[in-house]
């Protein structure tokens, strides 16, 4: 039992921050909620599945459960953020001056808001790829979809974000 707890501790320390980051981005910020859901994911793992999963599967199980918990939260709040006007400001080069910290924080906020413009499945696939470096196969295992769907979702997410970024950049240039 002590060794199981040790393994669980290692898994927790390895993936809890990543899971929090994934959920924060998925939820559009809301760090306390993200931590709550991350804790609940680990709690469910410890209570129901720990010791029964094949080696290496615990991580995918966690992300799958975390995503499902986040989807439940979406259904409760049904909130989406659309702030195209701020996308380009977040993407423009930032001068290194005393306001840099403020703009960095703003950029972080806008990344979250930008991600919220994507459909949930595209957002999830993109986050798992960019933040967790999961392969298309592994992402498909987490989301219970095919690799081809993962590939298409990731491409569409990137294309969508790039397009909005480009539109806003053109608008900003024409305004100046």
């Amino acid at each position: 039992m002590a060794s199981e707890d040790d393994e669980f501790t290692m898994l927790f320390q390895d993936f809890y921050p990543s899971l929090c980051r994934f959920l924060e981005c998925l939820l559009g910020g809301r760090a306390p909620l993200a931590q709550d859901l991350a804790q609940e994911s680990f709690l469910q793992l410890h209570r129901t599945a720990w010791g029964t999963l094949p080696p290496g599967e615990a991580r995918f199980w966690l992300y799958r459960v975390a995503r499902n918990l986040a989807i439940n939260e979406f259904r409760k709040s049904n909130t989406r953020y659309r702030l195209f006007d701020r996308v380009v400001e977040a993407m423009r080069p930032v001068a290194r001056n005393p306001e840099q910290e403020y703009e960095t924080r703003e950029r972080k906020t806008l990344v979250l808001e930008m991600l919220q413009t994507l459909p949930e499945d595209q957002r999830t696939a993109l986050l798992l790829r960019e933040q967790e470096q999961l392969s298309y196969r592994e992402i498909g295992e987490v989301m219970k979809v095919s690799e081809s769907k993962v590939k298409v979702d990731i491409f569409r997410a990137r294309a969508s974000l790039r397009e909005r970024w480009g539109k806003r950049a053109k608008t900003a240039v024409s305004a100046s």
Binding site: T9, F12, M91, V111, L161
Partner: protein
Amino acid sequence: MSCSFTEKISSLIDGELAQAEAREVERHVLTCAECEQVKTDFLSLRSQIAGFETAANPAITNRELNRILSRGDRVSARGLRWGWSTPAIAFATMLVVGAIVGLIWYQNSSNTNPNNVVAHVASPTPPPSVERNDQPQPEASPKEPEASPKETKNPEREPSAKPKKPLVREPKAGEQFALVTEPVDPIAAPERVRPADAQTLTAIHIEKSETLLVAFRNVRLNTATSDAEVAYERKRARQLVQQNMILRREADASGDVQIASLLESLQPILLDIANLPDKPDSNAVRTIRERVERKNIVPLLQVNSAALARALDD
């Protein structure tokens, strides 16, 4: 994005293209300004998303981990809390089981035949085991006849019968009764953890038995009439016999070998005392006393009583 290669750029930067296809796309990017810009923008998005820092700090992480490991089986993070606390449920369960056991005990006590405790012991209600005056044969036991056809029908059960020490014991010299038991059927009586209420009842029973045997040991023998006054001890023994059988059966079922063995050793002594006549012969009393001393029953009861008390306190 008009170029047909743009979708492949997404897979290229993810390392999901086959080697040959990846080289082809790389060569194309070198010659296509649009695809080169797409690749640059996709990588920029990646740096923005991957560079996102979570608000989780080490102090929060350790606190969450400790909460999960220490209380993970009983407490949930959100939305999964029970309406009743687990201790309340356990207490309610203990009350219900205790009431049922007490009711059974009361019913059995009220039907006791003062002239033949053993005959009542043979009543259908509890025991898998039977004590008889002079017939250690099973015909008085309601279960014994079933045992034979069971064993006949399912002989494969015998080889798979329990790995625990056998409970069958031959009557020893000086004993009035034989203890004939059946092996516990592991299929019919699966092992389980003894609930706290059974432990409580067992602890109380052991303490009462110990008190009885100490009192019996101190019974004054009338040297003039060669008899002894044991009415109180006999009455107490009759009350304890039923409870002893119930608790021994429960201990057998739950796999508590130590308690089952103790209660098994105690059973014939309780029966002997319970079946003493109104004015027993001093020699009969001495015989029982000697058996109690020889089996070291009283110290065993004291040790187990203390152990159960500690277990219940925990």
